[in-house]
Symmetry: C2
Subunit: 274 residues, 2 copies
């Protein structure tokens, strides 16, 4: 099965909530945990709580990498547990490099090694076409990519609204490339990252053009976007949105996180169906 | 000392050659090595050969990350050996994320952990200003950043020549941001990555504006740029260029690599002085 087909099945079975696994230093402290072992225990608890209540988890690699090899080893355990629990795993790594080097990252995150995930986020600063080979490699492994398109941080507009020679914005150019790669798929195997707090119109992004494109949308909860607004934000493309929340779920703490996930998954289901 | 001051000292003592440590799969095979242990031995041999013959090494993180935690552990050993040998180390990681997440990467690569390097490459897809806090963190640790500006791959032009609202190209906007951060420094502590095979004029990059900016310039050797052309390429900014070569040095194999580094360091010194 392709990544797009697997994502469709997860949406149908478990809904569109994506639970971030972000062992930020302040959250580790709140949870009474510390170090690489703490980040491992944090991730394993989120996986356990998500299993059966949500379909998708998104570990943020930076919060493991900060502990070096010990942190990456912890992440390997979290990824293995998530796969074993039947969760779809998106490694939020935002890697991006030239072809031969990017093959190293593709091998790491979409291959068969200990960091293998169902999909990985990638950064197109070197041009969306520079990721073509990575995209092919990922698809051959039944995995997916999410290309950064429009991010929610205020400093992003300068670059992401810049106009390419064709007159389109950088963000729109990336969506166009992804659509090309998804030709013939109902729900594509290549997605984009679009923050849930961005102004799609200011970015030159047409909602119709996003139909059938998996949209990883961080920014729900603590960053200010509300699940109830998802249809206003994405319109006809809402069916492909992964509504991603991290801090608003993780702040529930290790005891209450399972009920927080169940509650938010229900809110997401209601918002998407509205 | 600031990173800029340390880089100046290395340039004066050891010259401007930067030796890439890229344990690409095909090179590992040529060297008779395999796996994470092979990537470690490869890196340790390059460090040993570079010590006393060049001043700067640049391990490519992707080629270690592909082995997961075992690869990152190998990289930790290579980084420690390079520091112990008195080499200036640039981790070629091209990380880039929003502020709170980027703090995790800054902690990993410019902090005091096992992956600490003298500088790290970062990707500005989220806007150059999104890296301001990372830049401050790195400087506080005496470390440097190199922001991707103009890369040598053919697919890069679409995004990197796009025009921001101010009318400048994306690449020029990033150089401008770096200049701002380097205010008051003779050789800045924040640098840019500009491929040695790019057309600076087509990218809207003014050579005068690059004076005093450390320029990490991959593309020498196997990718086609020649050391002898460095003054034609970078003009008055040549004194800040790190002439980076990987495959053309590494292909010498484990026995001949020391003499290859010595020869190329001499060629670089001659080209820079010309």
């Amino acid at each position: 099965m392709t990544f797009g087909e697997r994502l469709s099945a997860v949406f149908a079975d478990r809904g569109q909530l994506c639970v971030g696994i972000d062992p930020h230093e302040s959250l580790l402290v709140e949870w009474g945990l510390a170090g690489a072992t703490g980040a491992r225990d944090f991730g394993l608890r989120v996986v356990e709580a998500a299993a059966g209540r949500a379909g998708i988890v998104k570990p943020q690699v930076a919060f493991y990498e900060r502990f070096g090899a010990a942190g990456i080893s912890a992440l390997e355990e979290v990824l293995a547990a998530a796969r074993a629990a039947g969760l779809l795993v998106i490694a939020d790594a935002k890697r991006g490099d030239i072809g031969s080097t990017m093959a190293g990252y593709a091998a790491a995150w979409t291959g068969e090694g200990p960091l293998a995930a169902d999909a990985v986020t990638v950064s197109p600063y070197l041009g969306s076409a520079s990721l073509a080979e990575t995209n092919t490699t990922a698809r051959a492994a039944g995995a997916g990519l999410f290309l950064l398109a429009a991010t929610s941080n205020p400093e992003a507009a300068e670059l992401q609204t810049a106009r390419t020679a064709s007159g389109a914005t950088v963000a729109a150019t990336i969506v166009e490339r992804v659509r090309e790669w998804n030709t013939g798929e109902t729900l594509g195997s290549t997605g984009v990252v679009i923050g849930a707090t961005v102004d799609l119109d200011a970015l030159g992004l047409d909602r119709e053009s996003l139909v059938g494109v998996p949209i990883l949308a961080p920014g729900f909860g603590a960053q200010g976007a509300r699940y109830a607004d998802v249809r206003d934000l994405f319109g006809p493309a809402t069916g492909g949105v992964l509504l991603s929340a991290s801090r608003s779920i993780l702040a529930a703490g290790p005891v209450d996180i399972a009920s927080a996930i169940a509650t938010q998954a229900a809110e997401v289901a209601e918002a998407v169906a509205a």
